[in-house]
């Protein structure tokens, strides 16, 4: 039996537009009419037909996942033309020009200075579609992939974060569309997959969130993040001609062939069958061995560059590495170790098999590098070399299967021009009577799926391996605002991780949804003592080819950028995942903001549990009539209209004053006000510390007159609750002078929460009852 020749061409030159589009569909390239036309014209000029390997390379490199066409394209909204990435996210960072930003938007992760010669690398990715089809494998490989992003900047992974969005767990089975798995199933296997990968690799999962909304039924969102430690002097990015292209890690199979183009296509009923190869199984032990090998090579300074093999596999990684170095590359594809015979050259080239990394290694160091990997029982194979000139040449058993111009490959993709539309939804503020006793509403909110305890999930993640987690996800028996890590043994300096996510507000206005996410992430970080904060953005939206979805995206990008600029917090890395749609429609516009702060001394970190009776409780920030998208309205069956806004000029100075008070040792406990507002925050602080609390709503600083229930449950941004000892209160008040701050109550011996307005008692509940309500769900 004779096998087909290695070199196969795909005739494009004579094709018209419709035929081009058909070719794109038949070969699952997910390339548009215009993109196919550009490729055809390129080969017309070259005077030959493309090979299948070349065409697949374009499909990978020009996919939404790899090139972020929408964010880098031109978008017109209400007559204004913007380039999203340049004009919003990246614009913030370049306007702020902060000297501690070591590498932003250039590499696999963003890097910021930490202590001395050490930098921190942070990256968050999504793995939504694979998790919808195979939740365990999809989530596990999501974690594995983002860890490789950190390895891909020579980083040692030291912590994971995971934010998950699912459909409601109590969704009736009959409402489940065909081909869609029940949220309960997806939830439990996604959680198990995340735990399995992180735990096995010995990387603590220290921060996260779980959010439920109907729009995620057919399209769950799985955000995986990793923090790493990089000695700046070892951050090698210096490929020279003659350096070897070294493939490290697992063998290559058909896994994930067309994974990238899959991520950029909407999920539909038959996804499960047609996408079997897009789903992968992870092997955390393999990655742990790779990690050890890479850290050894890094320590000895034997490599000249590194990157992970992610979307697009070798086709993206080799070309990118060469392109960044201003070089070309020559690859011998038959040298790639395979899982099984019979793979076509293009399949080897674009395979997304897990647990593989790519290194550039000067020839003189190659033997030593190979030895170090062999010592860890990791396969390392030189598959080619970097060469002068800017062409990417791929040979298979000596026969040329691709010869591409790297400049065209990386800059030739036609810029997308799209129209966006934004029309605010017609919404109204509800009117309903207030319950005499706010206790029932508080218990309902505490037990509601988006507020209730995540302890059952958190405990299945190892959150303290490495013995460096100083503030844990459940610290002092309550839900912590942010995680604090002590990355170095010989320093007390800490890294602070937090996040912000408010999809519910996106139903009213994505601008304020995004602004709120930034404020929440920054506020959570501040609540434990974090400052000098850097941000990551992760957008998960529907199909951007729909003008109304794109309009939401533009609103959100502007909202988070305006707020980040005002807070002085740069974006250092980010990712967008578009086409998050299922038969049930697009997901609610979702933006996750992840924040990385530092704290000069972890021993000064502040936790959220009340510390003792006889102390004062202060509320910081102004409470407004902003209950649109709030939990209080939600349990009453309303969405509302007055979405929480951000007044960042007030917020930034307030947060800075709070940090000053913390550094003076004046703050005993601090908790941010978010879902469920003052009511939920106060209850959580009280039961976490098992310390009673008496509050007077009449003392809360307001912007205008408000009914008591609204004061209690408003979700206005930029607010925190702070516990201060009586004897420290004059100093604390002096530190906060000029800001919106008021003492609204005191901690007491009785184990109960009492809320009054003047003489009128609005709520009286035992701490055990509050805690039970919070723990009952999930």
């Amino acid at each position: 039996m004779s096998s087909p020749p290695a070199r196969l061409t795909v005739p494009l030159r004579s094709l018209g537009e419709d035929e081009l589009l058909r070719t794109s569909r038949e070969r699952q390239l997910s390339l548009s009419r215009e993109e196919m036309g550009t490729i055809r014209d390129h080969f017309r000029a070259a005077g030959r037909e493309p090979t299948d390997v070349e065409l697949e390379t374009f499909a990978q490199t020009w996919s939404e996942h790899c090139i972020h066409k929408t964010f880098k394209g031109r978008i017109e909204l209400d007559g204004e033309v913007i380039e999203l990435f340049r004009d919003t996210i990246a614009g913030v960072t370049s306007k702020l020009r902060l000297p501690w930003c070591f590498s932003v938007f250039e590499d696999n992760a963003g890097l910021v200075d930490f202590e001395g010669e050490m930098a921190l690398a942070f990256k968050v990715e999504t793995h939504n579609h694979p998790s919808a089809v195979e939740p365990f494998g999809g989530a596990a490989t999501g974690v594995g992939g983002v860890i490789r992003d950190i390895l891909g900047v020579w980083g040692e992974p030291i912590a994971n974060t995971d934010v998950l969005c699912f459909g409601p767990l109590d969704l009736p089975y009959e409402e489940l569309p065909p081909g869609v798995k029940h949220p309960r199933f997806i939830h439990s296997y996604v959680v198990a997959g995340i735990g399995a990968y992180g735990n096995n690799m010995g990387i603590p999962t220290v921060n996260g969130a779980i959010y439920f909304d109907r729009s995620y039924v057919g399209n769950p969102l799985v955000f995986c993040g990793t923090l790493g430690l990089v000695p700046k002097a070892k951050y090698a990015r210096d490929v020279k001609p003659g350096d070897a292209v070294l493939l490290v890690g697992g063998k290559t199979g058909r896994d994930g062939v067309h994974g990238v183009t899959f991520a950029s296509a909407e999920l539909h009923e038959r996804s499960e069958e047609v996408s079997a190869t897009a789903v992968q199984i992870g092997d955390p032990i393999e990655e742990e061995k790779i990690k050890r090998g890479i850290l050894r090579v890094r320590e000895l300074g034997l490599g000249s560059a590194i990157t992970d093999l992610g979307g697009g596999g070798l086709s993206s990684a080799v070309g990118e590495m060469a392109h960044r170095a201003g070089l070309g590359a020559l690859v011998h594809l038959e040298r790639v170790p395979l899982k099984y015979p019979g793979m076509r050259p293009w399949e080897v080239w674009i395979s997304e098999s897990q647990e593989r990394m790519l290194l550039a290694v000067p020839k003189a160091n190659l033997d030593r590098v190979m030895e170090h990997f062999a010592e860890e029982e990791v396969e390392a194979t030189p598959i080619g070399e970097f060469v002068p000139g800017k062409r990417l040449r791929v040979l298979y058993r000596g026969e040329e299967v691709a010869d591409l111009d790297l400049a065209f490959l990386f800059r030739g993709c036609p810029m997308v021009a799209r129209k966006a539309k934004w029309k605010p939804p017609r919404l109204e503020e509800p009117s309903f009577p207030m319950d005499k006793d706010l206790g029932g509403d508080l218990l309902r909110i505490l037990g509601s799926p988006n507020v209730a305890s995540r302890e059952g999930v958190i405990r299945t993640y190892d959150h303290e391996v490495r013995a460096a987690t100083i503030l844990k996800p459940i610290h002092g028996y309550g839900p912590g605002d942010a995680a604090v890590l002590r990355p170095l043994y010989d320093s007390w300096k800490g890294a602070v991780l937090s996040n912000g996510l408010n999809p519910e507000y996106g139903k009213i206005d994505p601008y304020w949804m995004a602004a709120s996410a930034v404020d929440e992430a920054v506020r959570n970080n501040t609540a434990v003592g974090g400052r000098r904060i850097a941000l990551l953005d992760n957008f998960c939206f529907g199909n951007p080819e729909r003008p109304e979805v794109l309009g939401q995206l533009v609103r959100a990008a502007k909202g988070c950028s305006d707020t980040a600029l005002a807070h002085g917090t740069p974006f250092i890395s980010g990712k967008d995942s578009l086409y998050n749609e299922s038969p049930l429609g697009p997901v609610t516009p979702t933006l996750l903001i992840s924040a990385l702060g530092i704290i000069p001394d972890v021993r000064r970190a502040v936790s959220m549990d009340l510390k003792g009776p006889g102390h004062r409780l202060y509320v910081l920030g102004t409470t407004r009539d902003e209950l649109g998208g709030s939990h209080y309205y939600k349990i009453k069956g309303h969405t509302g209209k007055n979405v929480p806004r951000v007044y960042p000029d007030e917020a930034r100075e307030l947060f800075e004053a709070l940090i000053k008070a913390m550094d003076m040792g004046l703050v005993r406990a601090c908790h941010d006000l978010s879902e469920g507002g003052l009511g939920v925050a106060a209850a959580e602080m009280a039961f976490a510390g098992s310390v009673g609390l008496e509050l007077d709503l009449g003392k809360v600083p307001l912007a205008g007159r408000m009914r008591e229930d609204k004061v209690f449950f408003s979700e206005s941004n930029s607010r925190l609750l702070v516990e201060v000892r009586e004897e420290d209160s004059p100093e604390f008040e002096a530190a906060l002078r000029g800001h919106s701050v008021a003492s609204i109550g005191k901690t007491v011996d009785d184990k109960e929460l009492v809320v009054k307005k003047g003489k009128k008692t609005l709520l009286k509940a035992g701490l055990d009852a509050l805690r039970d309500a919070w723990e009952a769900s999930l």
Binding site: E288, R459, G476, Y477
Partner: protein
């Protein structure tokens, strides 16, 4: 004094364990299993052996099974000599599983050819990370001598439920081999109650020693309770100084100094 911190593919608590021993003033060399197997390194060259936590070989077959069985097959005699000479062996979490599979624990009649106990799937059937209370003081193990009545350390495992053959628990108790038991905050044994006994272990057993007392296996992680600032409530109870894990590791180091 030089400890061998043994690692195999998937071991992941070697760094912090070595670091803790270094802080106690000893040498701590992380040694890959293959270097012991191919003879490049001799276990008898070390004053003590620590097998740290992790997921050696991905916990395939059973947690600790591959490393444990390979150790006993390839190094059985040298390990027995190591133990008979009174040198300390500490197995933490996955290390405890390795010691059980290698037949070093419970070691009723010295090292056994086949396992005499099992660390089976948690009664909850899932992995769990939580801080527990522990009670020491029943055993002959010098590493747990002179400890406060109630200790605190975290557990983080999916397979930590001690399963013993019929009569095994009584024999352990009669020999003074129960080194640590899961307890209530008051110091009373947990009585099998979840989550105080986090995995459903027979007799609330969290740690076992051999009859001589120089081999200790425990599911909780002393290296994660080395400093008070690692406690989950240090912001209310104080973050200064060393924790209970320090006491246990220090005892082991002092035991070597006395040898």
């Amino acid at each position: 004094m030089n400890f061998c911190i043994l690692r195999a593919p998937g071991t992941n608590c070697d760094g912090e364990t070595a670091r803790a021993l270094e802080e106690l003033g000893c040498g701590a060399e992380v040694v890959h299993l293959k270097r012991l197997l191919d003879g490049r390194v001799d276990i008898l060259g070390y004053s003590g052996l620590v097998i740290p936590g992790g997921f050696s070989y991905g916990d395939h077959i059973r947690s600790g099974a591959i490393v444990g069985r390979v150790l006993s097959h390839a190094l059985g005699e040298r390990l027995s000599r190591f133990v008979d000479e009174g040198r300390p062996v500490l197995g933490i979490c996955n290390g405890f599983q390795v010691l059980a599979e290698a037949g070093l624990l419970p070691g009723f009649e010295g090292t056994s050819r086949f396992p005499e106990m099992a660390l089976s799937k948690n009664a909850s059937s899932h992995f769990e990370d939580r801080w527990v209370h522990l009670r020491a003081g029943e055993s002959s193990c010098p590493f747990t001598k002179g400890m406060p009545p109630v200790l605190r350390m975290p557990v983080a495992h999916g397979e930590g439920r001690v399963v013993l053959p019929p009569g095994g628990l009584e024999r352990l108790e009669a020999n003074g081999q129960v080194a640590l038991r899961y307890a209530l905050g008051s110091g009373e044994p947990a009585g099998g109650r979840y989550p105080e006994n986090p995995n459903g272990s027979a007799g609330d057993i969290a740690g076992i020693t051999n009859p001589q007392g120089n081999v200790l296996g425990l599911m909780p992680h002393p290296e994660r309770a080395f400093l008070r600032i690692l406690y989950p409530d240090w912001t209310r109870t104080g973050g200064e100084g060393y924790g209970d894990g320090y006491l246990l590791l220090r005892n082991m180091v002092e035991y070597v100094r006395r040898l």
